[in-house]
C-alpha cells in the first residue's frame, strides 16, 4: 500500500495518508467508515496524479534520492532470475557500492552491473551510500571484460551521487579507475544498455554509463555535478541548489531533447517507490526490446555506431 515517506512537496498527500491510517484503525469496529476510507483513497490518488504531473526539476532531484526508491538490488530481484553475484576487483578488494553478476532475463544470459545505495542505516553504511571507491570501478571493469569474453549483453543500473571523495580513493587512483572504464566501454565488443534509475551524479555515474542505448526512468536525474556542488562552484553558495537544478537541465525530459539519452521509462503514478512491481515490469520490457534491437546490429557496425554516438555529443 502507501509507503510512509513523504517528500516536502508531498505534504498534502501525507495529510490524507494520516487520515486514512487513523480511520483504518477505528474502522475495524465501525465498518460503515469503509466508504470514507475509499473516498480518501481516491482523493489520495487524484492528488498524487496532480502533483506528479506538475513536478519541477528540484522535485525530481528529491524523488531520485527518495529513501524508498527501488535500487539495483530491487531490479535484480524483480526482473532477473538465477543471479550469481560476482565479487572483487582481484587487485585490492570488493566494493559493496557496486553490485555485479551474471543473471538471466527471459532465458537470455546477461551481465548486470549497478550502483547500490542500500536501504536502512546499516546497509547504507556498508555500501558507502552508493559512492564507489576505485576498486568498485575496477570490479565493474573486470566484469565488463568477462561479458565481452562470453558475448553477454551488459546491463548497467546507474544510481549514485558520485564517486567517493576520500583519501584512500585518491591514493588508489579514483581518476584512473573512472577514466579507464570510459575508454574500455567505448570499444567493448558486446552490447551495452544503460538504465539511469535514480541519481546520475557526475563521473562516478558515467563510469558505468557508456554504451549503445541509454534510458532514464521518468523521475531520474543526470548531471555533471550534484545541484549542491554546482551551486557552490558557480553561485558560490550551496543554498542555490534549487536554482542549479533548474539551470542544469538534469531531467530525463531535458536530456532526451539534448540527445544525451535515447528513451524514458515511465514510472507509476507517484514515482517508482510507490510500486516496485510496475516499475520493474516497465524496465523489463524496455530491456528486452533493447536487447532484441541491439542484437540485430552486427558487432562491427555497433562499435562504429557507439563511437559516432559518443563523438557527436556537443558537435
Amino acid at each position: 500500500m502507501i509507503k510512509r515517506h513523504f517528500l516536502e512537496f508531498e505534504k498534502p498527500l501525507e495529510e490524507i495518508a494520516d487520515k486514512i491510517d487513523a480511520l483504518e484503525i477505528v474502522s475495524k469496529d465501525n465498518p460503515e467508515l469503509r466508504s470514507q476510507i475509499d473516498k480518501l483513497q481516491s482523493e489520495f490518488e487524484e492528488r498524487t496524479k496532480k502533483i506528479y504531473s506538475n513536478l519541477n526539476r528540484w522535485n525530481k532531484v528529491l524523488i531520485s534520492r527518495h529513501p524508498q526508491r527501488p535500487h539495483t538490488s530491487d531490479y535484480i530481484e524483480n526482473i532477473f532470475s538465477n543471479f550469481d553475484e560476482l565479487h572483487g576487483d582481484r587487485q585490492f578488494g570488493d566494493d559493496p557500492s557496486i553490485i555485479g553478476g551474471l543473471a538471466k532475463i527471459d532465458d537470455i544470459p546477461v551481465m548486470i552491473i549497478g550502483h547500490e545505495k542500500g536501504k536502512g542505516t546499516d546497509e547504507k553504511v556498508k555500501r558507502n551510500f552508493g559512492m564507489p571507491q576505485p576498486e568498485g570501478y575496477r570490479k565493474a571493469k573486470r566484469l565488463m571484460k568477462m561479458a565481452e569474453q562470453f558475448e553477454l549483453p551488459i546491463i548497467t543500473f546507474v544510481d549514485t551521487s558520485g564517486a567517493y571523495p576520500g583519501i584512500e580513493g585518491e591514493e588508489r587512483g579514483q581518476s584512473e579507475a573512472i577514466a579507464s572504464n570510459l575508454a574500455l566501454m567505448s570499444q567493448l565488443k558486446t552490447r551495452i544498455i544503460i538504465v539511469v534509475t535514480g541519481e546520475g551524479g557526475s563521473g562516478g555515474a558515467l563510469a558505468l554509463g557508456v554504451g549503445d542505448h541509454v534510458t532514464m526512468l521518468e523521475h531520474a536525474i543526470y548531471s555533471v555535478a550534484s545541484p549542491e556542488a554546482c551551486a557552490s562552484i558557480v553561485w558560490r553558495s550551496s543554498e542555490k541548489a534549487e536554482e542549479a537544478a533548474e539551470a542544469m537541465k538534469l531531467t530525463a525530459k531535458d536530456l532526451i531533447k539534448l540527445n544525451i539519452i535515447d528513451e524514458i521509462i515511465e514510472e507509476p503514478t507517484g514515482g517508482a517507490h510507490r510500486n516496485y512491481k510496475t516499475i520493474s515490469q516497465n524496465v523489463r520490457q524496455s530491456l528486452l526490446s533493447n536487447i532484441e534491437n541491439l542484437n540485430k546490429i552486427p558487432l562491427e557496425r555497433l562499435l562504429e555506431r557507439r563511437y559516432l554516438r559518443l563523438t557527436e555529443v556537443g558537435k
Partner: protein, 282 residues
Amino acid sequence: MNWLTRLIPSIGKSSSKSKSKIPDGVWTSCPSCESALYQPELQKTLYVCPKCDHHLRIGARTRFNIFFDNGNFTEIASNVETGDPLGFKDVKAYPVRIKEAKKNTGESEALLVGFGKLDGRLVTAAAFEFKFMGGSMGSVVGEKFVQGIEQAIESKTPFICFSTSGGARMQESMVSLMQMAKTSAAIQKLKSNKLPYISVMVDPIFGGVSASLAMLGDINIAEPKAFVGFAGRRVIEQTVRVELPEDFQKSEFLLEHGAIDMIVHRSEIRSKIIGILDKISK
C-alpha cells in the same frame, strides 16, 4: 640547452601578442616563495622560479612556443564555436562568461590544438588554457581534442596533451560530462591505431579532465609539484573531516602511488618526450 636559447625570441614574441601569460608588468612575484621575479629572466627559465623552482602557470600558446621546434605550429580546429546548449544562467549568462574569457585570454576556448614539428618529427598536440574559465572542459574543448586526435590518426603522428583544468564545465552540464566519454573514446581509437598518447599533467587538474583524458596516457608525465586529483582538497576535507598532508595529490604523491610514470622539470619535458617518441613512435 641549445633549443632553449633558440626559443627565447619566439617566447618573447608570443607574450607581447597574447594576454594569457603573466601580467604585463616587468616584475612579478613567485606564488610560492614570493621572490620578486623579473619578466625577461622568467622567459629564459620557461616561467620557473629561479629561487625555489616553482613552476608558474603558463598559457597554452606559451606552452606551444616552448614545445614545438622554434615555436612553430599550425593551429587546428580553431573555428569551433561555443554554443549555449542549456541556456545556462547563474549570476551571469553563459555566453557573457565566454565573451569575457575570450577577451581576457585572447583565446577562443580553453583548449589549443596544434600540429607541428618536435625535433623534426611531426606531432599533434593540445594544451589547455587555464585562464579560460579554469580550463574547464565543455563541448568545444571535447570537440577540438577529438579533431586533434583524428588529425593525429590521419597523419599517423603521436599525440601529446598538456592538461591543466578544473574539470568539466558546469554551464553545459551533461553535454560537458559526455566530453569525458567522447575524449576517452577518441584516445582509445588512437591507441588501436598503435599511435602513442603522451599526457603531460600541469598544475592543477581535477574532476572530469583528471578522470578522463589526463589519466589515459600511454605515458603519464607530470611537472613537479602539480596538484592532480579526482576530488578537490576542500571537498575531501569536508567529507572525511581530517586535515590532509601538504603533499596530498601533488605529483610526488601521484608517483609514489603509481598513477604517473615520471616527474619532469619544465626545462626537460621537450627533450624527455623526444627521447620517448624515439623509442615508441615509428
